[in-house]
């Protein structure tokens, strides 16, 4: 199939950037979205153009490196699917596709579709861990964890840190990302001792990094390729309240 692409091209952080039109020809429905872009790039290189810069690494939906806003939706039209796992059979011959970077003040564009997500690392640095030293940990079965809690922790821990939640949020908030880590660790007994401090430090850092505030639109949940639930934000809020009043 043949497609018309409007791709965001931006030389560097200082450039204003604009959408540029490209034709993607002879696209196989079995291609992934990124393979389609690979093809466009191959042609650009051989015809003397500059290829479109975009991030990707594992290309199996787990590393969180890829991410583009495809037709106004982070990671594109298919639910629970990262851009690298989005296949072209989700599009039709003759479609026009708009491709933009994840946009947020906290995600400055480096080039084209490549953004700097270091702000998410800094939120984790503020407290997204359990402060345990290597060695001397008690036996793994010394702490019993109800299956239900372990499952909820795992539901939250599946976050891949791609930033689609931020990209989707009308407020550019990183609340779902933050809530996923807070919930993951708050659900486990090992994480309880630091739970209050963690939620305060992480939400404070989120604001400091330039992310917006959550106003419960749940666009994040709809965009999350890993199905992280907005109710984890409620959990974060509960943790925050508990931290204030205990």
């Amino acid at each position: 199939m043949n497609l018309t692409l409007y791709v965001w091209r931006q030389k560097d952080a200082a450039d204003t950037g604009q959408l540029v039109r490209y034709q993607a020809k002879n696209i196989s429905p079995d291609m992934s979205f990124l393979e389609m872009l690979d093809g466009v790039n191959q042609e650009l290189i051989t015809t003397g153009g500059e290829p479109i810069a975009f991030d990707s690494d594992c290309r199996e939906g787990i590393c969180g490196a890829c991410g583009q806003v495809v037709n106004g939706v982070p990671h594109g039209p298919r639910k629970l699917t990262t851009t690298c796992q989005l296949h072209m059979r989700n599009f039709r011959d003759g479609d026009t596709i708009y491709i933009e970077p994840f946009r947020s003040r906290a995600f400055p564009v480096i080039k084209d579709l490549v953004i700097d997500r270091g702000s998410l690392d800094r939120i984790i640095q503020a407290g997204g861990y359990i402060s345990v030293h290597t060695g001397g940990a008690p036996d793994g079965n010394a702490i019993l964890i109800p299956k239900q809690d372990a499952e909820t922790a795992m539901d939250a821990a599946e976050c891949i840190g791609c930033g689609a939640c931020v990209a989707a949020c009308p407020n550019g908030s990183a609340m779902l990302f933050t809530a996923a880590k807070v919930t993951h660790l708050a659900k486990l007994p090992q994480g309880r001792p630091e739970a209050g401090r963690r939620v305060c430090m992480m939400t404070e850092e989120m604001l400091k990094q330039g992310f917006g505030n959550c106003s419960n639109h749940y666009e994040c949940e709809a965009a999350c390729p890993k199905g992280i639930k907005a109710r984890f934000i409620a959990k974060l809020n509960r943790e925050f309240v508990t931290a204030q009043f205990t």
Binding site: N71, G212, A223, K229, R231, V241
Partner: protein, 222 residues
């Protein structure tokens, strides 16, 4: 940490003050509905005889309204800054018109509130119809007369409809949002609360809109 310095803290204040106002709005419409049973004046007189309670409510509501407005402005400004370059194409999947325009519906409600207070509490917009000047047969301030005569005017009726419609939109997002912000929801109750919030807002709208509509159309006869 000082609560309002944090993102979540300010939202908690927004949610708490919002919930307080929602409770007020529910009580207010309950009181107002006496108009349909012909005893609005009795209700008004009774309310004023409980002046301690009345002032207590006013003293609580005033700072709630002010805090709600201040934080609304601050959060909105912050949220606006969080995405300096907007998308050329953006599809909204779960967010609603109401949710994205809280600041505007809030502004309409705020403006309307000022007008509403000037009209029926301070009674300065239509001095001739002031309830204090016109007493009913029982010698009570004729609130009904004031309300009925003003809402018979198309422009005023329209303003009231606009005001309560803004309220509908505001609450359809605000109610569920406040539950989420306080974490007063669980996996199973979450969808229910989301729907319940909109349903409650719609019921409140029907109750509020009924007054100008029935008066203007002449359905509500003395």
């Amino acid at each position: 940490m000082f609560l309002p310095a944090s993102s979540v803290g300010r939202k908690l204040v927004m949610a708490a003050t919002g919930q307080l106002m929602t409770v007020f709005i529910i009580l207010h419409v309950a009181g107002n509905s006496t108009i349909f049973f012909g005893n609005l004046n009795a209700y008004a007189a009774g309310l004023h005889s409980l002046w301690v309670l009345l002032w207590a409510v006013r003293i609580v509501m005033l700072p709630a309204v002010i805090l709600h407005i201040i934080y609304a402005l601050q959060l909105t400004v912050e949220n606006g800054k969080a995405r300096p370059v907007d998308y050329m194409k953006k599809e909204n999947r779960t967010s609603t018109f109401a949710g994205r325009n809280m600041i505007w519906t809030g502004a309409v409600i705020g403006t309307f509130l000022v007008y509403h207070l000037l009209q029926y509490t301070f009674q300065v917009t239509n001095p001739a119809l002031s309830a204090y000047r016109n007493l009913d047969e029982a010698g009570r301030p004729d609130v009904f007369l004031m309300v009925a005569r003003t809402l018979q005017q198309p422009l005023i009726a329209a303003v009231y409809l606009l005001g309560v419609t803004a309220l509908l939109l505001h609450l359809s997002h605000g109610i569920q949002s406040s539950f989420q912000t306080w974490g007063l929801n669980g996996e199973r109750s979450f969808p229910f609360i989301r729907k319940g919030g909109s349903a409650a807002a719609t019921i409140l709208w029907l109750a509020y809109a009924a007054i100008p509509v029935t008066i203007f159309t002449g359905l509500l006869l003395r």
